[in-house]
Every structure is written in C-alpha cells, then in structure tokens.
C-alpha cells in the first residue's frame, strides 16, 4: 500500500538512462550487440553481489567473496589443465571449496562469535595469497578444455549461458528469502538478533547458512568467470570487490525498500553497468567509472535512509 513509485524508482532511473544514452548514441549504445555485452559482462558481478547480499541481511559482512571468486576461478582452469582432473570433477571440487570456506566462516563468526568483518578480511587475504601461490603469479590460459568454456559461452535463444545462471540464482534466492522460513528468519535476525532468538528462531543456524550460501555463490561466480574467459588470473578479484558491494548495498533502494533483496541487486548492478557503458560511449575517461559508481552508491543509500527515516518519524508513537 505504500506508494509504488519509490519501490520502482531505480527501475525507472535505469529505463531513463537507457533512453537517454540511446538517443545520444543510437549507432553504438542502442545496438543488440551492446545490450548483450552489458548483460553478459554483468552476470558474474551480479552473482557475486548476491553472494555479498545474503549475509548482509542478517548484518554479517563477508568481505572475502571477491577473493573466493578469484581463487576458484584459478582452480576452475587449473584443476583440469595442471592436475588433469575431468571438468565435472574439477567443478564439484570448486563448489566444495566455496562450501568449506563458508563452513569455516560459520564456525568462526557464528559459533565463536568473532566479528565478521575481521574474520572475512582475514580469510579473504589468505585466499589472495593462495591464489598467487597456486597460479605462480601468472595467468593460466593454456589448454583450457572446451567443455569448460562452452559453459560460459554457449547460447540459448541468442543469450549466453551466464545470463541464465544469474537469473536462476536471483530467482532461487528470491524464493527462499521471501517464501521460505529461512529468509524470514534472516530478515528477523537483521532487525534484531536477540529478539529473533528469544522468539524461538535458531538465529545461529540461519546466519551459518547465509555464510555458506555466500561463499558457495562466490565460488559459482568464479567458475562462471573462468568458463567465460577461458583463463584464470590471480589479480582479477580486485576488480570485483567494490562493485559487488555497491550492488548489494544499492539493493535496499529498490523493490523491497530498506531491505537487501536479490532483485534489487540485479537492478542495481545493471544500473551501474549501463551508466558506465553509456558514459564511456559518450567519451568519458576511465576514471569517471569510479566516480559514477561511488556517487550512485552514496546517493541511493542516502535516499533509502531518508525515505525509511521519514517513515519512522511519521509514526513516533512509541510508549
């Protein structure tokens, strides 16, 4: 019943941006090829941003997701080429790495009650080191099996597979977060962990599951990245860290206002990608990308805060 406009404001902004760039650069921006590029380029980032989002719902940070993506992307090409594992076995191993990292996080953060920011900063740094060790500091690209690259480049209905992976992840997350008790428990934990616990919710289990989901999705994003590029780079994680968190935080300004949500993440990631793509077509220099991303994050989060803040003060009828 709350006015629909703010919920869809980001979607409208995205549409307005697409329209503006299309009018300004009809021959480059508004082409099928360019739209496909934007979708494809952003699909890995969107999966990673959803990984960042899930623990954030319960107020836990997982700062290691980009490092997990980096490490797993190396394993995904390295295990079949260097260790000569069959591709399916290698991919299961990659996902298992994500799950194990998530379980370690759950042990340290939920069971031992260590602060999530510090723990995941630590594990992320460890994984960065392991990435350099495993790769020897160089890009792994030789002999990557076609079985792997096909997973990242085959097309269905003219759309490359990574876009489907992203859509599947978003839909599944939307379902479990909105329609399953686990999602409600996570949102309740984010509102007040002690209240949720006293109301009988196993908040430890809900948070632990969120951390495992985060690392697993980050591992998935790493697999998709390698499958698409056909190579693994030890430094690529750096490019993903901030945009992923920008997408996760921006999600609170779309659809489910004031709450992290997967559809909001998709919308936010495309808003940022479209803006950067359009600006570059207008001839903006590279540094504009960072300024644009940062500005969008601060403005959107500020607006979400103001709108939820006015909602609070409007009903200050406590006690």
């Amino acid at each position: 019943m709350t006015t629909a406009l703010p919920r869809y404001a980001m979607l409208l902004l995205l549409a307005a941006m697409v329209l503006t760039f299309s009018l300004l650069r009809p021959e480059t921006f508004a082409t099928v090829a360019n739209v496909r590029t934007i979708f494809l380029e952003s699909s890995v980032l969107a999966i990673l941003a959803m990984a960042a989002m899930v623990p954030l719902i319960a107020k836990d940070f997982d700062l290691s997701i980009a490092s997990v993506l980096g490490f797993v992307s190396l394993l995904a090409v390295g295990l079949p080429t260097r260790q000569e594992l069959p591709v399916p076995v290698a991919l299961v191993a990659c996902l298992a790495v994500g799950v194990v990292i998530g379980l370690v996080h759950a042990l340290l953060i939920v069971r031992w009650e260590l602060p999530s920011v510090v723990v995941t900063l630590g594990t992320g740094t460890i994984l960065t080191g392991l990435s350099l060790w495993y790769s020897g500091g160089t890009v792994i690209y030789e002999g990557v099996p076609e079985q792997l690259t096909r997973l990242g480049n085959a097309e269905v209905l003219g759309i490359r597979l990574p876009v489907f992976y992203m859509a599947a992840v978003a839909l599944i997350l939307w379902f479990v977060l909105e329609k399953r008790p686990w999602g409600r428990y996570l949102y309740a934990t984010g509102a007040s962990e002690i209240t949720a616990r006293l109301a009988g919710v196993d908040t430890a289990k809900a948070r632990a599951a969120a951390l495992v989901v985060a690392s697993s999705l980050a591992a998935l994003a790493g697999i998709v990245l390698s499958a698409r590029l056909g190579s693994g780079s030890p430094t690529i994680a750096n490019d993903f860290f901030l945009p992923a968190f920008a997408g996760a935080f921006l999600s609170i300004a779309a659809f489910k206002l004031g709450f992290f949500n997967p559809l909001g993440v998709i919308c936010a990631v495309y808003l940022l990608a479209t803006g950067v793509n359009g600006l570059s077509m207008l001839g903006a220099p590279a540094w504009v990308e960072h300024v644009f991303n940062g500005l969008a994050l601060v403005v959107a989060v500020g607006l979400a805060h103001v709108s939820s803040g006015t909602a609070r003060t409007m009903h200050k009828g406590r006690n």
Binding site: M1, F175, K179, R180, P181, R184, Y185, Y187, A188, A191, S192, I194, T195, A196, R197, L198, A199, G200, V201, D202, G258, S308, A311, R312, M314, H315, G317, R318, N319
Partner: protein
C-alpha cells in the same frame, strides 16, 4: 528553616490524568530525604519537574543549585575513574596539552572522601556497582558549592545494587549530607528508607500523603502509607475449576542471582512471581523460559515435549520490549507470525493467504490498533506492541508462557486487554508465569503468588489470601510471612 530544595504546590496533568496534584515538600539542609511511592504514583514525574525536563502546569521548584544522578549513571565503562570524573568539565590545559596530572589531582580530591582514592586509574568496568554509583554522585557534585542551599537528587541510584554493596553508597551519601547538602533520594527499597533517611515523603496517586521524619516508622508502616486504601486487591474474578496437571518443572534452578529455586507451573494456572530489583526476578524469566542456561538445576516440560531449551518451546515475553521483544523495521504481521512460520508452510512455501489470515485473526482477537497488520510495528503504541508480542505466542499455543513486566509502558485499556488475554489462555489450559518488580498491576490476575528475596523463593500463597501490601512486605523482608 531554609531548605536546600523546596517544591510548592506542584501540579502536572497529562491529558485527563493528574500525575501530580498540588505537591509540596521541603528537603532540609544536611538531611537525607527519601521519596517513595508505588509505580505510577508520580515519583518520576516529580523528578522530571525538578530537573527541568518537564514544565509543571503550576507550582514552583525552589533551589539554589541541584545536582542529579539518574538510574542510568552515564559512565563510560572502558575509561578510567579519573577520565570519567572529568568527562563533563572543560579539560585542564597546560599549554597545548591536557594536564593529566592536574585532572588526576582534581579527581583525587573529590573521590578520596568517598573511598575511591586508590581506584583513580582503574577502568570503570573494574568497579563494583556501588563504586560506580559513588563515582557518579561525586561527579554530579563536582563544581557545586556543597553549601546549605544546594541539593542532590538521586533518582533510584541504589535499585540495581546487590544488598551487600549498599553500605558503600550509604556512607557516601552520609558524607555529602554531613557537609550540609540536602539530599532527595528516590527509592524502591524500603529497608534503605529506614536505615538511611532522616525524612520520608510518600506519594500516592499524584498526591503527597505523608511527609515527616522517619523516626521509628517500620517497613510495614511505609507499605501501608504507600498503598493506602488499596491494601486489598480488587475482588478476584471467580476461577473455574481446580488447577490442572503440572506443565513445567523448575528444579533447584540457580543462576547469577537466584539460588535453588523450585517452581512448578500447572495447566490453567497463572502464577505471579514478585521480587525487588536484585532479588533475581529479572533473571528468573529467561531461565524458566529456557532462553538462558542455568548455572545449575534444570527446567523440564512435562508433556514429553522434552527439554525446555528447545527453541521456542515455551512462550517468552521479555521485559525489555524495544530491544528484545520487537523486530524494528518489520511489520505487525512479521512480528506476529515469526514463531508460527513453519506451520504456515504449504507445498514448500509459506502460504501467503494462511499467513495473512493468521495475522488478521490475531489483530482482531487482541484488539491491536491500528488493525492494519501491514503497519510498521514501531508505529504502534507501547500497549499495542505488547499485544503483538503476546499474540505471537498465543498463535503457537505453547504449553506455558513466561511474561516479564507484561504491563510495563502500557496504557490502562491495553493493560486490561492483555490481562484478559492471559486469563483466556490459562482458561484454555495454558500455564502462565507473570514476573514483576511491583505486584499491584498484575496481582489480581494471578491464582498463586510466589515471592523472591535475595535470589531465593521465600513465600508462596494463593492470591485470594494475599494483598498487595502483604506481597510488598514479603518482597522487602519484614519478617511477616504471607498467610
């Protein structure tokens, strides 16, 4: 005789209620003056008028200079005693830097007389509760003239103290009074009034009903003055039938404060558990409901549902509603349905229509206002929030509900609604424990009363044979047992 602090014909209305009605009292220099009264008698309104937080409708407050210490002492626990002492004042500068030595000397001079001289460099977290109170008092007095025309107002500074630490605070208060200050000291602890105060004033329903020297007044006299004509609880509504089978057993339960508590809740029975702050009543709720782990002893549900620690097996309403009972930022519906979600799952997903139907039914049954279950929980008044918290448990119908301070911060009509819902739940066979620091509001709802003192259960009696003043007397330990 001039007074350190005088209040003349103070009147304050809140809407149709009269919180203070022509209250006049004087605090004489050099004397400790206790102010007592039941919950809702106007004590806190009077303190707020004294501190200037509230503007009285009429009447005056006369004082040269007064310092205040509130229940929340306002100390930073990670900082040292000295650092806390100088926190509110401009720093003593020596050139460009703070002169720590001079500040320490200031603190030493003020804190030595009250016995804190050797704790100047300790963090406040290492101090006992009593030492913190003493520090807060000394800080409040820093800069005042400590003359006959100045006053110190202590707003329940001793209510959180363990009984064996009160002496430290008492000595500090005496020390300040000895230098000529008038001290007004608001308390719940009647024993302290007898031990420490020279004079006592009693508020009842906004009126000053007694003001004079403590003399040889006993705790029983004070209770009688506070409760006045309300010594007998309202006539009990007839309860149908005998109490049912045992539902929950607490066996030799011990925790931080409570020791060896045995308590059984029966189906269809409402048990009132009363005790003063520090008696352990604050701790017992979480233990009974299985939300906290006891140091020793156990809590068992009888019906084979197993150990009470199974999450959510027993309904629990904590006293700290804003922080522990309400999910801020979420809707009334989300707050209501949280413990029921698993039961609402159909074909792998939470069934939206069942969820809405449950929320609608609860909002209607409980009389929650507004009736829109999509409204933000924080938009509701305290009473309506409490209805949601109770409704959350009525929806799952657990065998027992443990509720702390169920009427706290709740307006009168909502209070009656809440207690009526509790009675209806008991009539359906639920077992209820109502825990409270003050018996007067919930006593008439109880079938049985138990009293905690110094961590132990000291008395138990059927409510029909017990009055508010008898319960109060048992809580304060006058030696008279309940009948």
């Amino acid at each position: 005789m001039s007074s350190a602090l005088a209040v003349e014909k103070l009147t304050k209305h809140f809407g149709a209620t009269t919180a203070l009605d022509q209250v006049s009292l004087q605090v004489a220099p050099g004397r400790v003056h206790a102010l007592i009264g039941l919950n809702g008698s106007g004590k806190s309104t009077l303190v707020k008028c004294l501190s200037g937080f509230l503007e009285p409708d009429s009447g005056t407050v006369l004082s040269e200079e007064s310092a205040f210490v509130h229940q929340d002492l306002g100390l930073a626990s990670s900082l040292s005693v000295t650092e806390n002492f100088v926190l509110g004042r401009p720093p003593v500068m020596r050139g460009l830097r703070i002169d720590r030595r001079a500040e320490r000397e200031l603190a030493r001079r003020a804190l030595a007389p009250v016995g804190l001289a050797d704790r100047l460099d300790h963090p406040v977290s290492a101090l006992s509760t009593a030492e913190r109170v003493v520090l807060a008092i000394a800080r409040a007095l820093d800069g005042t003239t400590t003359s006959a025309s100045s006053a110190l107002v202590l707003d329940e500074p001793t209510s959180a103290l363990p009984a064996d630490e009160i002496g430290i605070v008492t000595r500090a208060i005496r020390e300040h009074a000895g230098r000529g200050m008038g001290i007004l000291f608001i308390t719940h602890r009647l024993q302290e009034v007898c031990d420490l105060a020279d004079d006592v004033s009693v508020l009842r329903d906004g009126q000053l009903v007694h003001s004079g020297p403590v003399g040889d007044m006993s705790i029983a006299d004070l209770v009688a003055t506070m409760t006045g004509t309300r010594t007998r609880a309202a006539a009990p509504p007839a309860r149908s039938g005998p109490r049912g089978e045992p539902v929950l057993h607490a066996t030799s339960l011990s925790g931080r404060q409570i020791q060896d508590v045995d308590l059984t809740l029966h189906a269809g029975e409402i048990v009132g558990v009363f005790g003063m702050l520090g008696s352990g009543v604050e701790e017992l709720g979480g233990l009974l409901a299985g939300r906290e782990r006891p140091a020793s002893g156990r809590v068992d549900l009888v019906d084979g549902a197993g150990h009470a620690r199974r999450a959510g097996a027993i309904g629990y309403i904590p006293s700290d509603r804003p922080n522990k009972a309400v999910l801020p930022g979420l809707s009334v519906r989300e707050n209501l349905c949280l413990p029921s979600l698993r039961g609402l799952v159909r074909r792998g997903r939470i069934d939206r229509s069942r969820e809405h139907a449950l929320a609608r039914r609860l909002v209607t049954d409980m009389g929650v206002q507004p009736r829109d279950h999509g409204a933000a929980i924080l938009a509701l008044s305290g009473g309506n929030q409490q209805k949601v918290v109770l409704g959350r448990w009525l929806a799952v119908a657990p065998p027992a509900i443990v509720a702390e301070e169920i009427t706290q911060g709740v307006d009168v009509p909502a209070k009656e609604d809440l207690l009526a819902q509790v009675r209806a739940y008991a009539a359906r066979g639920g077992a209820v424990a109502l825990l409270a620091l003050e018996p007067e509001e919930v006593l008439s709802t109880c079938d049985r009363v138990v009293v905690l003192r110094h961590g132990r259960l000291v008395d138990a009696a059927p409510r029909s044979q017990t009055s508010v003043s008898e319960v109060l007397a048992a809580m304060h330990g006058t030696g008279d047992d309940l009948p």
